[in-house]
Every structure is written in structure tokens, then in C-alpha cells.
Symmetry: C2
Subunit: 139 residues, 2 copies
């Protein structure tokens, strides 16, 4: 378990909402979910999201403008975050780092660009959706 004991009230609420969610949630979806707990304004959510991203307890899926809890216990130790997003069901899986092996070092050397982080988003169709589509087609 990552250290959650330093988190503030709003940060805990937000990270727990993301952990218990099926998939990525938008900031406003989180807000709606947390209204019963006293969260009233977008900014409360956005501030918590910012801090949680800094701590790498959550990630933003840029192409969806949505947020997910990190599934890797040591994600804060590496610079690469990747997701596989199903275009059919919008399901999102976080890719383990070893899957995302990038050969950018030569390019960085040549251009003098110093990497601080990488966001990778793989689009496609998940197994479940392909099977469903196949089943529909054959009737």
C-alpha cells in the first residue's frame, strides 16, 4: 500500500473514488460522486487531482480528459505511463512499464531534448469487444 496517510480529506475522497471506479472518471463525474460527502465545487476536485498526479497515485488519460487510479505500486519511480484504450467500450488498462520500451535515447542525444516524462496512449479494440462483434456478425 502506498502511503495515503499524508493525504488531505479531499485528496483521499478523490483517490478513493477513482480506485473504486470501473474505469476512468472525468473531473465532473468525480465531483458528482463526491457531492454527498461535501465536495461542492470543481476546484476542490481539480486541486486534489493535481496533487495526486504529482504523487503519481493517479494518471490523466489525456485523450479522454479523464483520470484513473494508478495500478502499479511503484509508478512514481518511472517516467513512462501508458494506457491501452478500447475504441469500442472505452475500457482502459494501464500498461506495465516493461511493455513500453522506447528507443528515444539516440534521438534525445542528437537533439539535446531532456525527457522528464512520457505519456503513451495505445488505441485499439479489446478482446471482449472483438469477440462480441464477431458473435454478432455470424448470426
Amino acid at each position: 500500500m502506498v502511503e495515503t496517510h499524508k493525504l488531505t480529506k479531499n485528496q483521499k475522497l478523490v483517490v478513493e473514488a477513482l480506485k473504486s471506479a470501473e474505469g476512468p472518471l472525468s473531473a465532473y463525474a468525480i465531483l458528482e460522486e463526491l457531492r454527498p460527502h461535501g465536495v461542492k465545487a470543481p476546484l476542490q476536485v481539480y486541486r486534489a487531482l493535481d496533487k495526486l498526479m504529482e504523487l503519481k497515485l493517479i494518471h490523466k488519460v489525456e485523450s479522454m480528459s479523464a483520470y484513473v487510479a494508478c495500478v502499479q505500486p511503484d509508478c512514481h519511480t518511472h517516467k513512462t505511463v501508458g494506457f491501452a484504450i478500447c475504441s469500442s467500450c472505452n475500457g482502459v488498462q494501464e500498461l506495465p512499464e516493461n511493455v513500453v520500451s522506447l528507443h528515444l535515447d539516440n534521438w534525445a542525444q542528437e537533439t539535446g531534448f531532456v525527457r522528464s516524462g512520457i505519456a503513451l496512449e495505445v488505441r485499439g479494440t479489446c478482446k471482449t469487444c472483438r469477440e462480441n462483434e464477431a458473435a454478432e456478425a455470424c448470426c
Copy 2:
């Protein structure tokens, strides 16, 4: 030259605006730029952007909600698009495909996920900005 002759009036305006821009432009920045040419509403821009992305003449930089003209003549032939984005000056470079070598095949095989496209965004600091910062620091 890629075939631009099939493009509609609005599509041509948008792609030319992006080609002549220094860096990525937001949809609304494009709109302002094209007002003198008769473009009046966001949808005219968004519709053109959608079609141009489909044709892979332009790309969306997801993490900036901005759009750039493609610099690779054959970008429509491959599935990977990558950018290096400087956190300091917001400059964006499109990465050549051979730089972005991904080892996702095993993972895809195991999980049954079929890739249709990849968006990769490398964050960091460009050479120019690092040099400027170094120059400031040493005075």
C-alpha cells in the same frame, strides 16, 4: 506534396493555417485566424479538423488540446504518432516513426488487444530552453 486538391474550402483554410503556424494551435486560435476569411463558428473548424485528422494531414496534441500539421509525407501509412513537447517553451516537434519503436507486440498477443493507433507524448526540456536557463543561472 500530399493530395490537397480534394479538400473543401474550410479544410484548406484550416490546414494552411496550421502549416504556416510556428507551433500547435488550439481550435479557437484557428477560428480567430480564419475569421477574416469568413469562418465564423467553432464547428466549421472542428469539422475540418476531424476530417484532416482522418486523412492524417494533421495531428492532435492531446495533452495541449491543440493541433499541428503533419511533417511526415507518409504519416498516413503508419500507426504511431509521437511528439516531443518542451515544458518550458511549449515547443512541439513531431518524432520520426523510427524513433518511436514500441515493443507492444507480446503484450498485445497475450491480452488480445488489437492496436489501431498510438499517441505518444514525450515531455521534457528542449536544448534551447536548457541553454537559456543555464545562461540565466550563471550570472
